[in-house]
Assembly symmetry: C2
Homo-oligomer: 713 residues x 2
Amino acid sequence: MRKFFICTTALFVLFQLTVLCAFGQVTQLAPGVQKIALGTADRFTPYSFCNELPMSEALNQLGPGKLPFNVNDVKININSRGVVVEVPLDDTEQLYGFGMQIGSFNQRGLKKRPIVNDNPLNDLGYTHGPASFYVSNKGYGILINTSRYATFYCGNTAKLNNNRRDVKESNGGNSVEELYKSDNKASGYVTVDIPGAKGIEVFIFEGPDLKTVMQRYNLFSGGGALPAIWGLGVKYRVKADFNQYQVNKMAAYFRDNHIPCDVLGLEPRWQTASYSCSYVWNNSFFPTPDLFVDTMKNKGFHINLWEHAFVSPKSPLYQPLKNKAGNYLVWNGLVPDFADTAAANIFADYHRQTFVKQGISGFKMDECDNSNIAFGSATWSFPELSQFPSGIDGEQMHQLFGLLYQKTIYGIYKKLNQRTYLDVRASNAFASSYPAALYSDTYLHEEYIRMILNSGFAGMIWSPEVRESNTIKDFMRRSQTAVLSAQTLYNSWYLQNPPWLQINKEKNNKDELMENAKQVETDIRKLLNFRMSLIPYLYNAFADYHFKGIPPFRALVMDYPQDKNTFNLSDEYMIGESVLAAPLTEKMDERKVYLPEGTWYDYNTRQKYEGGKYYTIKPDLNQLPIFIKSGTILPLAKPVEYVSPDTKFEITCYVYGRANKATLFEDDGVTFNYEKGAYNSVNLLWEKNKGTVKRAGNFKKSRYVIKNWEIIN
Amino acid sequence: MRKFFICTTALFVLFQLTVLCAFGQVTQLAPGVQKIALGTADRFTPYSFCNELPMSEALNQLGPGKLPFNVNDVKININSRGVVVEVPLDDTEQLYGFGMQIGSFNQRGLKKRPIVNDNPLNDLGYTHGPASFYVSNKGYGILINTSRYATFYCGNTAKLNNNRRDVKESNGGNSVEELYKSDNKASGYVTVDIPGAKGIEVFIFEGPDLKTVMQRYNLFSGGGALPAIWGLGVKYRVKADFNQYQVNKMAAYFRDNHIPCDVLGLEPRWQTASYSCSYVWNNSFFPTPDLFVDTMKNKGFHINLWEHAFVSPKSPLYQPLKNKAGNYLVWNGLVPDFADTAAANIFADYHRQTFVKQGISGFKMDECDNSNIAFGSATWSFPELSQFPSGIDGEQMHQLFGLLYQKTIYGIYKKLNQRTYLDVRASNAFASSYPAALYSDTYLHEEYIRMILNSGFAGMIWSPEVRESNTIKDFMRRSQTAVLSAQTLYNSWYLQNPPWLQINKEKNNKDELMENAKQVETDIRKLLNFRMSLIPYLYNAFADYHFKGIPPFRALVMDYPQDKNTFNLSDEYMIGESVLAAPLTEKMDERKVYLPEGTWYDYNTRQKYEGGKYYTIKPDLNQLPIFIKSGTILPLAKPVEYVSPDTKFEITCYVYGRANKATLFEDDGVTFNYEKGAYNSVNLLWEKNKGTVKRAGNFKKSRYVIKNWEIIN
């Protein structure tokens, strides 16, 4: 790494309160990753907590980056209010990112405040997964390394006396009607407002293209997460007040009815106290937890425990953490100072000893997202004015709380060389390497789909969970989306029976099943079996996320950044290298699909389509609305009911078009031994009407058995 | 005034970043008004712009105040993040205020952020009229003198190691259901978070009761506003694109059909440019504005001009203000630095010369409230990071912009000894003396009613305007509320015809009138005539606002602070001394009314009710849902079509119960001569079955002629 200095001349001398800092320090952090620093940087930033080392080799292989502007065109202004950063923006650029945004996709022209919150109405930028990070289709990304509440003006401001660039001014109008019509594409810069900061670090991730930017970002963050392979199956969370007997019964239901399920999640009642948490098994509900976990394991179920991080006075963690917690309580519970390694270690050690060693395979880390109800009545989280022994304040702690919580829990598994797949309600930047899926209560299907796309710009994993539904159609559409996402999750925390037996909450809890429950169950089994078939392909996509930084789920604009038709396309996405998903919602019987350049195949009809055009599809409720790119081999496995360390996937290779290839990633699926090279690349090749399989690598077992080749032309 | 010092010992020593300030300075500002100051106070605060002197004599007459806590129990903590203020709160206190709140009434247990905004969803505290000021039914008010975005936790936080008071802790629960049920009445303090501040002034207004707190606040702010008497009539805003001919025609409609109207408001098209504003008559729409204003005046109409403060490059104000404006533009227009007297004077001088001297009697000051659309795309206002030559930043300017704008415009009229009644989209604390009514686009009738109550806790005036409606019932209910409010306003800025002729916008603009238009017109005439009858009573209520600080419109809890049934009663209010309004909304055919202690008469049925109980009323659509307190004389005038300086009100005194009295305030109605004593108190007395009228004061004319006495028993 080389360091050099550049003079960022402050061009706009404005008024007496402006403190001008004329020199910014530019540091090359990794190939194509630069940092501009000015003033006194904050101690508690997302990057300050990133312990993962950049994946240097992979970064080197990305080749040279390129910026469409000069680094010293990025202006930083420090004044008595805070820091203002201005980044050049040309008139045609499209912007994406700001973490797991919910209400918007293309952020050009918007004002965005990526602030952690559980119920982000009004599209202000509030989200479970805030990140002060955006990317441009011109091939670069800008990350403001702050955990303060920052505001981004994405090319929608105009300055007085602006001599810097061509500024396309707001049109205005002579009436409100005219005003609404004006395109408001003012300004030649993105402006970032970071009140309270006394200095700032700006990370610049170079392209040259959008996908490479995300690769650089993810690789710089330690590489994308590779979940335990069983995490790619089906997760089902049982009703909050289920006891050991009831969970056993539910487990039996899955196996008896041959419905795939890898993970059962327990909700609050497993603990003696849950708001706040005791982290102690409630023996009247779970009299023999050791036996329970073992029994479940023998039936192929992993157990995931719900909790949050607010520590009840009834918890054994209370006394050890009392002097390592914030000065405000939540539900009378401590807020651990996760910014202090000592506090995080106490929390982690207890969890390791008590649960992970017991066989608990993951946690659902709830309530770390500063609940919306906190807006009305602050009792769902701690105030921004909170103080913590480490010195972090409540505002910055809010932005980082989910990030630090998942880091704390993930660290347990990492140290034990045991992989996991976690659930977490909040995240932030540099979290790419954490195998933790974000989830939400907001439950608008359109938004859940959009968030799959936005997750790819965030280095985050998104789980569009399914609960109850208004109609069977709605339920099936949501299930399709869940199957085509990073985690297939049914969250029945308030449902007695699986929702496919009764979509209505009240009836479900009265055991009044639907008349056509068995038919819906059959359709769901079909969808979930497809999910199980897709695991090898998905697992390879996650390996590409880890080793190459390529988001496994991503917007089409990431692969086709020059195609204008993709700029605002917020309801189609790529899965892995060559599958395009176009999910439908309850309102739709059919939908319009845009297919970018190339040739594509409808997975269901096998019909061939030329790219660059719009088509209409009408998939059934028990089909998956996906297209396969020509030149692809789609390896689909014979569905298993769950993935065990011994599972051998029996693969059929579907060959779309000619001269095809694909890769499968092969390892034990449950340890980090792949980091030391214990994995194979299983290369599938279709040439001259013949399929070949070449295995390369150091993993000794083979988990994929190629059974068939099937040609689709 | 005496000054003294008190040691506010900081009791909670927390962590290394906390900067402790052990001494706060307490100053007695006026009888029952104290200020605690600590640290370096901000330059730009609401009080720093209050030029009005306290009404000392009236303040002296209020008698001694009383606080339920010791002044040095108010804790101020200054740290690197900003300032935190903690004010004692007991378990039974009820809190109100935070300016013109929309979504909530009793603020106890809520988190409120009184931040200026035009479309305040989610009840976060955002409002057109933010004020960092709350009052307690225990008889005191707390005003944080800041124009920063502050957050109030109204008794819903709990601290670790809290040794200070009895803290009722959050109940929590073992499930989310239990959690929702918990009452969350934690904490023995209101906590205020003021990020960015380096010091603070806390104003304490003493009681001993809730109404006296508001009297002190309003009197300290210079006394309540006394609008020009014609302002209490009916205001009608014409369609935005009406030309001179069309406005004349509309004026003729009112007079021909004997529908009262005092003010006609012009919308954007009167100007050559409006987004941003030129402040120049558009001669193709108004070829002879002087003639137009004169003609209207002769017909008894006052003309009000729509505008906002963002100055178009096409405006004669642009060059003079270019160096006295913020560094960001809005609709390509300047944002005048109203915090600089020189900028305000330029703006005012131009308006005086160009419009006020022409006879323009008021302005509608639009768009000064940081539009909601600004959340998505910032173009509807300036960014918080803006800088102004005076040194104020964009955040503080936003909070103060509407306040300074109305001060600027009001100052013109004040200097000319000419009264007015303005419209403004934003306000803040210490604005009691400004005769400017807030208005909104939000248009939820329930909220508009609640805002009438909240205006009384804010020293603000609220105008629940009527536009189109879904049903005639909705329209009539809204009209009833408008008649029973501080300003009766029909805002037809997008309606060709008066809405009572066609409630549907599309049909209205196609001149398709309703079949029963004439009947609805008759009903509206009846309601508006009642408004005109009420003017003498209302005018006296405003005189009480000015001279005694008593809010003319106020929640019942202000008059009955010990009555638990009033604590959350957010849809009934007092008008003046003895009229209780209980408006209905579209959904209601009847409603429940709570009548507090005493005896009350239904105005419509004349039925007598004992207080302390709930009753059901079912007023017709053309009646007003009001009750009159026993012991009252309600003086109602024979309705006039508009109020001129020569208007003599012919009064019938309605005597409710025995031993009654009432007062009317008598002056010229249009100048500030009353400040020099040129007014009369007309005292009405009913004793021993005989009515007497006693006039006291220095105003030479009599405007009220008492014609009749009518007894209701």
